[in-house]
């Protein structure tokens, strides 16, 4: 779908970094305020799908660098890995493992654990899935 509006074509490209940051923040803060992997992943996918709508999927793929399907499997792998970590490390069953909190400049206190890792897996899976089908349906010219 090619659009004639230059503004519409170029805007997503400009907005892309902003939306991606928004996705990352939504994901990261999701453990404490509304957000998380599912929402973050959808927002992230939206960023690239908008680029694809504006400038075509080739550009979007080039900007994205990673194959959507690889992103999806990476996400599934990370989620599985975090589950295995929790299984091995936790005392019986899938118990979350957490590192001690530490300070990072600009961001503040950071508390990392396997549930966060799992959520990252969800994030990548959802993003991979949405971009995959978003690009796919657009490219499919019948």
């Amino acid at each position: 779908m090619k659009t004639k509006s230059l503004l519409f074509a170029q805007m997503p490209r400009v907005a892309l970094p902003l939306i991606l940051v928004l996705a990352a923040v939504t994901f990261y803060r999701g453990h404490h305020v509304p957000g998380g992997g599912f929402i973050g992943g959808l927002v992230g996918a939206l960023a690239f799908i908008l680029v694809a709508l504006g400038q075509g999927t080739e550009v979007a793929r080039k900007v994205m660098r990673v194959e959507p399907i690889s992103l999806l499997w990476l996400g599934v792998g990370i989620a599985l890995f975090s589950l295995i970590l929790g299984f091995i490390g936790g005392d019986g069953g899938f118990h979350g493992l957490w590192l001690d909190e530490f300070m990072v400049p600009l961001i503040g206190k950071v508390h990392l654990g396997t549930p966060m890792l799992f959520d990252l897996g969800v994030f990548l899976t959802v993003m991979g899935f949405a971009t995959k089908v978003g690009f796919g349906l657009q490219e499919d010219n019948l």
Partner: protein
């Protein structure tokens, strides 16, 4: 030694025989396995006579009442001895029979697994276990009867045997389950001990009818008798084993087993006696017209099964004693005669009586075995068959009611069987040499004549040692069936009594019928093409297939909208039934305050949904669908679900965008012409919507006191360091579920990829 190992040993032998292909001359060694099991049965015999028993238990599905309970008593032990003893000889015979033809190992393996199942039936002490073994014999017999699977005819007949016995098996299952529930126990010995509980049950008649159906189909009682002669399509070792000593006796066996429980009921005696008598006469009379040795034997087996069933139906101690003597005698001579018939077939190349004759000098060993077996069957003294017949007449003449009728039936049946016995065991050897004898007939190997010889000689020995046979075999088993210790004896010579006179009449009549044999054989074709129960079976089978086709065409005509209508209609009916049945209708009250935002959102959603369903233009329908999503987002916001609201909004937006990509490649929405279809659909949709409305409302009216979610909310920060409880549930408490869900996404992605990459492979023009 545990009761399990004979069954396991034979089953293991079957598995081995299936895998290890021994060379032909070593195959006879497989007989060692059932031989060992037989030896075990013989050795444990002293433990089970006189009311003793061996028991073994493994827990299984105890919640369902199914445990692997095995129990060996004298009655089961007698049958176990027959199964393993005859089985051992059959394996030897099969090894000889299959020499030079393919599939010998397969036949032996199948025979062994059947033997294990059959042994299971006679030692099972749990109703469910009994049924499992019962069905296993049906299935293995299907494989055995259809052994020559490349022949259409033998496949068809195997299927017939399976369908008839399988249908009966279903009835039996229902009967056994009902029996177990009513008796409050699944252990057979316990049920027999508490027979009065069952007799007092309101379902007694149902239980009896169902169990009888199972037993009658298995033991080929009229009107289910037709499958047995057809099952002669099986190789002879199979017929000699399944259709003489074992499988068809399984029905008789459980009739005897449950006889103490049900013998007080008229619903038991009547059907059993009548079915038995009819089967006896039908089998014996139809047998007259048969010209195939195996068919003759099949019909005499029917007659004997009928006799046994009738005797069980009488239920007196004397009748049951006669039944046991007859059963042992029959197992010995019938298996032997089948093997003799197979030997003749093998040596002379035919089983047709018109072509057989004068084989006595050519097949001397087979001749001796055949003669001995036939004499036992015909009931010459001092063979076991003679004693059996004497007791049968004794039973008949001492009946309180209708003694002349039943004795007459027995007399007629025995006369006919006498003639039939001579036709198989005597005629092929001693009549004038015919066509087949002029070819190259020959005696088979020792494996083919020794087994029938052993059985036939045993028939003579057991009869000769009447007292020993009675005290060691018959009376202990009889005591198990009747439940009372017995101190009776068996006698060969009773003096000149009515039974003896009847025996003499039998000989005279039998010889006359034998001499008139050719008269009946000539009418063979007329009888065979006459009306039969089998035709009803064929029509039923064809009718079922036709019905299934018609039903499939009606319900699954291929029109998707029709499918949907049926699915939705069925769901609505079930839901409606639940509401009516359990009176789950909700109260129509406005709970809670009507706030403006949710009211507007609800109306917004409903309006959008209706517009999306009715809009004639693609874009309008699509945007209405988007509108619905926005309204739901508003509801989520209002009811404290920000995570849901955001997700809904994003998904809604993405869906609309993706649909926009493809919408213009789809043709415009079609307008359906048939107004009646639309009306019917609208009515069904409205009913379904109304039911879901009621369901939702009644769900909301259940006030849960303790919500699981609250517990999770308590633990969320303390244990999982997260303040957003919804997210913590997703990534921590129920992370495994969430993992399953992202796997679903991965699978959907694979599906989409496959569909998209399949493009251009098919286009409309190529179709």
């Amino acid at each position: 030694m545990s009761l399990f190992w004979p069954v396991l040993l034979i089953a293991a032998a079957s598995a081995l025989a299936a895998v290890i292909r021994l060379p032909e001359r070593w195959r006879v060694l497989w007989a060692l396995f059932p031989g060992a099991a037989f030896a075990w049965v013989v050795l444990s015999w002293p433990d089970v006579v006189g009311g003793g028993q061996l028991m073994a238990t493994i827990p299984w599905f105890e919640e369902l009442g199914a445990t692997v309970d095995l129990r060996l008593d004298a009655y089961g032990g007698l049958m176990a001895g027959l199964v393993t003893g005859v089985g051992t000889l059959i394996i030897i015979y099969a090894a000889g029979y299959m020499e030079g033809s393919p599939g010998g190992s397969r036949l032996i393996s199948l025979l062994l697994i059947f033997m294990a199942a059959m042994l299971g039936i006679v030692v099972a002490d749990n109703l469910i276990l009994l049924f499992v073994f019962w069905e296993l014999t049906s299935i293995t017999s299907y494989l055995l009867v259809g052994f020559s699977h490349e022949k259409l005819d033998s496949r068809k007949k195997a299927l017939q045997a399976l369908l008839v016995t399988g249908t009966g098996g279903l009835a039996l299952l229902a009967g056994l389950v009902l029996l177990g529930i009513e008796a409050g126990s699944w252990q057979i010995s316990e049920i027999i001990a508490n027979a009065d509980v069952v007799m007092a049950s309101p379902h007694l008649h149902g239980i009896i009818v169902l169990i009888l159906l199972g037993a009658f189909t298995k033991s080929a009682q009229f009107p289910f008798h037709f499958w047995l002669p057809n099952a002669m399509a099986a190789p002879t070792p199979v017929s000699a084993f399944l259709h003489s000593a074992t499988m068809v006796k399984a029905g008789v066996f459980i009739l005897g087993r449950f006889s103490p429980v049900f013998s007080g009921s008229e619903w038991w005696h009547g059907p059993v006696v009548i079915a038995g008598m009819v089967t006896l006469l039908v089998g014996a009379v139809l047998g007259l017209f048969q010209t195939d040795l195996k068919k003759i034997l099949a019909y005499t087996t029917l007659a004997v099964l009928g006799m046994l069933t009738m005797l069980i139906g009488f239920g007196s101690d004397l009748a049951l004693k006669s039944m046991l003597v007859f059963l042992i005698g029959h197992a010995l001579y019938k298996a032997a005669l089948f093997m003799v018939a197979g030997g003749i077939d093998h040596g002379a190349g035919t089983r047709d009586v018109w072509k057989l004759g004068g084989l006595r000098a050519i097949m001397p060993f087979t001749m001796v075995a055949g003669a001995l077996a036939a004499f036992s069957k015909a009931g010459f003294p001092p063979f076991l068959g003679f004693i059996g017949k004497e007791y049968v007449y004794k039973t008949g003449t001492s009946l309180d009611h209708f003694a002349p009728i039943f004795t007459g039936a027995m007399l007629l049946g025995n006369m006919l069987m006498f003639a039939l016995a001579l036709k198989v065991g005597w005629y092929p050897f001693w009549s004038q040499p015919k066509e087949a004898a002029r070819g190259h007939p020959h005696e088979g190997s020792w494996m083919m004549w020794l087994p029938p010889m052993v059985l036939a000689v045993l028939g003579l020995v057991f009869g000769f040692m009447t007292e020993w046979t009675g005290d060691t075999l018959v009376i202990p088993a009889l005591a198990e069936i009747t439940g009372t210790p017995m101190h009776e004896h068996l006698a060969l010579w009773h003096g000149v009594t009515l039974p003896l006179i009847l025996s003499l009449v039998t000989f005279a009549g039998g010889v006359m019928i034998y001499r008139a044999r050719e008269y009946f054989w000539k009418k063979h074709d007329q009888v065979d093409s006459g009306p039969k129960v089998e035709n009803a079976y064929d029509r039923l089978l064809a009718g079922t297939v036709k019905f299934a086709k018609r039903q499939t065409r009606a319900i699954q005509g291929g029109a998707l909208s029709r499918y949907m209508f049926i699915v939705v209609g069925a769901t609505a009916t079930l839901l409606l039934w639940k509401f009516v049945r359990f009176q789950g209708w909700p109260e129509l009250t406005w709970e809670g305050r009507l706030a403006p935002i949710p009211v507007i959102a609800c109306i917004w959603v409903m309006a959008g949904a209706i517009a999306a369903a009715l809009a004639q233009r693609r874009l309008v329908a699509l945007l209405s669908m988007g509108v619905v999503g926005l309204g739901i987002t508003a509801l989520f916001v209002n009811f404290g679900a920000p995570d849901l609201a955001i997700t809904q909004l994003l998904v809604d937006g993405l869906t609309v965008v993706l649909l926009l990509l493809v919408i213009y490649r789809l043709p415009p929405i079609r307008v359906e012409a048939n107004k009646w279809v639309i009306r019917a659909d609208a009515v069904l949709s409205a009913i379904m919507g109304g039911l879901i409305f009621a369901l939702t409302l009644s769900a909301m009216q259940i006030h849960v006191i303790e919500r699981v979610g609250d517990t999770l909310a308590q633990m969320s920060y303390v244990e999982a360091y997260g303040r957003n409880v919804v997210n913590v549930i997703l990534v921590d408490f129920r992370a495994l579920d969430t993992f399953g869900e992202i796997i679903v996404l991965a699978i959907a992605a694979i599906g989409v990829t496959a569909l998209l990459s399949a493009k251009k492979e098919r286009s409309p023009d190529e179709d």
